[in-house]
Amino acid sequence: DAGVTQSPTHLIKTRGQQVTLRCSPKSGHDTVSWYQQALGQGPQFIFQYYEEEERQRGNFPDRFSGHQFPNYSSELNVNALLLGDSALYLCASSLEDRTDTQYFGPGTRLTVL
């Protein structure tokens, strides 16, 4: 049973560029949430996707956008990268009616220079 997978593992970008991160949920899960974890901090909720729609959003600007595909996989896009966007980006999947139990992927480490 495949768990949550994310790609790429590491990514280096420069300020002003755009980046796309990818997530495949655990088999059978239909809901994907994204989190940003800055160095030395706990993860912060960015948004959640279900049925290809953004259901809820944390306190993140519109530069952060996402998408969910019919196979439930998801992308996180960040435009106009800032140095402060450097962080570990975590994807978590769950069942729509059990979002209290989320399974996390290994994360993508984004460095913005």
Partner: protein, 115 residues
């Protein structure tokens, strides 16, 4: 908005001893979920234990147990017979149970296991 506070940035314990990690939270909800997650250097966030607020009984998973004090809004994690593999960052997290709001995490406690 809900907040989660972990007041111990770092804790150290001898192997085979018991350690308790503290967590307090603030919410106006009456029904919610609380979690402890472990994040080793591999970065993968692993669920350690889960507590439903409407349940009086404290959750237990093998060597891990919690002390849930709903009135005090306190949720501590006790690790018994500490092992070297327990060394990691531990995060306390809150979920409103509404589904879409995402988890609210504390800043974490770095647990060091002394051999």
């Amino acid at each position: 908005a809900q907040t989660v506070t972990q007041s111990q940035p770092e804790m150290s314990v001898q192997e085979a001893e018991t350690v308790t990690l503290s967590c307090t939270y603030d919410t106006s909800e009456s029904d919610y979920y609380l979690f402890w997650y472990k994040q080793p250097p591999s970065r993968q966030m692993i669920l350690v234990i889960r507590q439903e607020a409407y349940k009086q009984q404290n959750a237990t998973e093998n060597r891990f147990s919690v002390n849930f004090q709903k009135a005090a809004k306190s949720f501590s994690l006790k690790i018994s017979d500490s092992q070297l593999g327990d060394a990691a960052m531990y995060f306390c997290a809150y979920d409103s149970g509404g589904g879409a709001d995402g988890l609210t995490f504390g800043k974490g406690t770095h647990l060091i296991i002394q051999p």
